[in-house]
Symmetry: C2
Subunit: 259 residues, 2 copies
């Protein structure tokens, strides 16, 4: 595949706001193919859990997924959110295919070890197991895959999976097909050198300059694991990782992490 493959991940700040989502999808639909969308579920799953009287348990920001919760996240992520996005993209003349990892065995996963913390029906993926032939076949037909972060273990169990990990895994796998650009849409404009100044976006980060940025404490807090994961993805073959605000999908505001 000669063209760049864009893999774009959106989270709760886009999904939980219908007008932000529709605005994002208009921008996304206008991007050239080939492209792939990965979405989380936002707050809808917690809201549905609450209505059904199922307690939401989080440990370190990750959802503990018991028998009732895997049904709820499957309904919300693979059903409601995924199909709404696909229908909206279809209306924007962007033919899309909604997928969970079980579909076409595209993203196999394995149940996370119950030690040291038992997260329940939670899966972890190996990028090398991803069915890139199937993704390539969709892209070649001009179809945009839309992944939710539900996978399966090959033994009939659906597993709740981290959407950032799915996005990174898909980008790593697609790097066999062509140059990949992995875009994380966050609430911030990018990696900021001053967390109080939304305009202090660091435009570029390379492995070399990252060392300096860490030493001078220009990168702090929650951005450290995100940038380190991005550097690992680059090292694994992803062409570039971009961290930006969903509103800036079509412009250059954001942080590009590359070699």
């Amino acid at each position: 595949m000669e063209q760049k493959i864009s893999i774009i991940k959106i989270g709760g700040n886009v999904i939980d706001n219908e007008s932000a989502l529709q605005s994002f999808l208009r921008d996304f639909a206008s991007l050239p193919n080939p492209k792939i969308l990965i979405h989380g579920g936002g707050k809808l799953a917690s809201r549905l859990s609450e209505k059904l009287g199922v307690e939401t348990k989080m440990i370190d920001g990750r959802r503990v997924t018991d028998d009732q919760t895997i049904d709820i996240v499957t309904m919300v992520y693979a059903g409601l959110v995924n199909k709404r996005i696909v229908a909206s993209l279809s209306a924007l003349s962007c033919p899309a295919l909604g997928l969970c990892g079980a579909d076409g065995n595209v993203i196999p996963s394995h149940l996370r070890s119950k030690e040291p913390i038992d997260f329940g029906w939670v899966g972890d993926i190996c990028p090398e197991d991803i069915n890139t032939d199937f993704i390539a076949s969709l892209l070649q037909q001009g179809i945009t895959p839309v992944f939710c972060a539900i996978t399966n273990d090959g033994e009939g169990h659906l597993l709740n999976t981290n959407a950032d990990s799915v996005a990174t895994g898909v980008a790593l796998a697609c790097s066999k097909l062509g140059r990949t650009s992995l875009v994380f849409c966050l609430e911030k404009n990018g990696v900021l050198s001053n967390i109080d100044d939304p305009n202090s976006v660091i435009p570029e980060i390379t492995p070399t300059c990252y060392v300096t940025l860490r030493v001078t404490q220009q990168i702090q807090g929650g951005m450290i694991p995100k940038v380190e994961n991005a550097l690992k993805a680059i090292d694994g073959g992803v062409g570039e990782v971009i961290i930006k605000h969903a509103d800036n999908l079509l412009n250059n505001i954001g942080t590009v992490i590359s070699k």
Copy 2:
């Protein structure tokens, strides 16, 4: 496509019973490819509606689908039921792809007229609009499409659709690709000549002998529209329509309707 394409529709009596579903899926997985599964939603949507305090309204056995209900049926049919089936088939070494009509624009539909009855977000399909190229591409890759009965109108709205109509539409569309066998799995062993005798299955019905069966009142009640729809499907190009019990998928007990 030289081989026969099997299109099999299951309803509530299979979906609502986990052990019946798993037993059916084992049989289904063992059928030779190419094959397609179409499922309804059973009672799960009504149960979820009840838990959420959303009233289920039925007119003539059809669900009235308001704003809340379309979200509920999308969650249950396209999320929970569809992905559970796909994960189970995957575990049975039958790679499957879960689809609603919006995915890959595979089954376009249009909002049903609000006259004489306003059913809300309900769609009707035209078999000639079905994207058979996309279905053929999946079948050629050895992937089994699993359709739920949610479609979209091309304007961003998801629509609740009759699963029997989806099954018939898919069978008619696939008849362009090869000889089709459309199987409706019901609670009965087939079309019965004596409704009180489950063993009185009429093995074959042709358009000619149907006239006699009607005159002699050997076909009665709810079976009349089913057989008439089957005869229309045959007339439209479907190779055969089979009415049988889900337990008998692998044997010859059932009614074959053909030219």
